[in-house]
């Protein structure tokens, strides 16, 4: 528990640090900024002469950071998809909203709010030793969660730009048919691909695995959280 909290704090701290130190903007270097400062006792240097035979080097497109091509400093995304759970992990229709904030050339902070809507039939029972056992299906239960992740964008492959995402969340889980509720703390790992379709709009599709633990009422105590989700949606550049 304390280790997961420490990881969460580290993720938030990393995001805050990056916020305080915005990523450099990909542009041609300013010669004035790169020139060495003149010594205080040195005589004034003659004005540099521009030689037509040595024009300033043009920026190499291949060396430009990937962040300069399509994503903004801030993006928002709405996604829809399917989540599968089982046992005490909710599954069903997944609706998620993302807020992306650029941390570095390749990394974005990804704040996510997601909702999972599954069926609500009862699936818990008392086994022969009188212990409550819950055996929900892959698309049972409901859940709401907020998560903080880091999204790393990889080099574009033609029109497609793949990415990986890693983060941690906290959420509430409920299986109404059994009156079972709990709190879950899952780690998220996954990846996806982003395709730019308009100057400020992209289509995204991603798959993720959630693995963590949860604590439930009704005497169920702690339980494993293990779920898988595939979502797709649109991403909008804010600035």
């Amino acid at each position: 528990m304390s280790r997961l909290i420490a990881v969460a704090v580290a993720v938030v701290a990393a995001a805050a640090t990056a916020h305080a130190q915005p990523a450099p903007i990909a542009s041609a270097p300013d010669p004035a900024a790169l020139a060495p400062a003149p010594a205080a006792t040195a005589p004034p240097a003659p004005a540099p002469e521009t030689s037509p035979s040595s024009p300033p080097a043009a920026p190499d497109p291949a060396a430009a950071p990937p962040s300069a091509d399509d994503m903004g400093d801030q993006d928002i995304s709405a996604q829809l998809g399917l989540a599968t759970g089982g046992h005490l992990t909710p599954g069903g229709l997944r609706i998620a909203g993302h807020y992306l904030y650029q941390l570095s050339d390749r990394d974005w902070f990804d704040g996510t709010a997601s909702f999972t809507f599954g069926s609500g039939g009862p699936a818990c029972f008392r086994d022969r030793s009188n212990t409550l056992v819950c055996d929900h299906g892959l698309t049972d239960g409901t859940g709401v969660e907020v998560a903080a992740s880091i999204r790393r964008m990889f080099t574009p492959q033609g029109q497609f730009r793949p990415y990986a995402r890693l983060g941690i969340g906290i959420g509430a889980v409920r299986f109404s048919g059994d009156d079972v509720s709990g709190v879950a703390i899952p780690l998220h790992g996954g990846g996806g691909v982003r395709v730019k379709v308009a100057p400020e709009i992209a289509v995204v599709a991603e798959a993720e695995l959630a693995l963590g633990f949860s604590n439930f009422n009704q005497g169920l105590g702690s339980a494993l959280q293990l779920g898988f989700a595939i979502t797709a949606g649109a991403e909008f550049r804010l600035r």
């Binding site: 599968t84 089982g86 046992h87 009862p122 699936a123 818990c124 029972f125 008392r126 086994d127 022969r128 030793s129 009188n130 056992v133 055996d135 892959l138 990889f154 080099t155 492959q157 793949p162 990415y163 990986a164 790992g189 996954g190 990846g191 996806g192 691909v193 798959a207 993720e208 695995l209 693995l211 293990l226 779920g227 898988f228």
Partner: protein, 116 residues
């Protein structure tokens, strides 16, 4: 790109493993303890000498109506009970359960099932 594909493949594999997890022998349909039918998928055979601790089951007209490892016993109007060869086969249901012969519902033969 390769890293992303590996991550997605790993996630798919883990999902498949999750989907393949098995539950234990008893279920809400047949075998769970119960006090009322709300504790079961269909009906509860109340706790007593015949069904110590209560027994969730489903009604049946023949053995094809019953889940695996159970058969349609001609008791309580026809219900699915676990099949057995001897008393040891019934110990997973708890104390005071044993293996005994009853009529097969709609079959005209005897079958061995777990009862109290």
């Amino acid at each position: 790109m390769r890293t992303a594909m590996i991550a997605i493949a790993g996630a798919v594999l883990a999902g498949a493993v999750l989907a393949g997890c098995e539950s234990n022998a008893v279920s809400r349909a047949v075998g769970a303890r119960c006090d009322t039918s709300d504790d079961c998928d269909e009906r509860c055979l109340s706790s007593g000498a015949d069904y110590p601790g209560g027994f969730c089951t489903v009604s049946c007209s023949d053995r094809t109506d019953c889940p695996s490892d159970t058969t349609c016993a001609d008791v309580e109007g026809g219900v699915c009970l676990f099949t057995c060869d001897n008393d040891i086969d019934c110990t997973f249901l708890g104390d005071n359960w044993g293996c005994m012969a009853v009529d097969l519902h709609g079959g005209g033969i005897k079958v061995n099932v777990c009862r109290g």
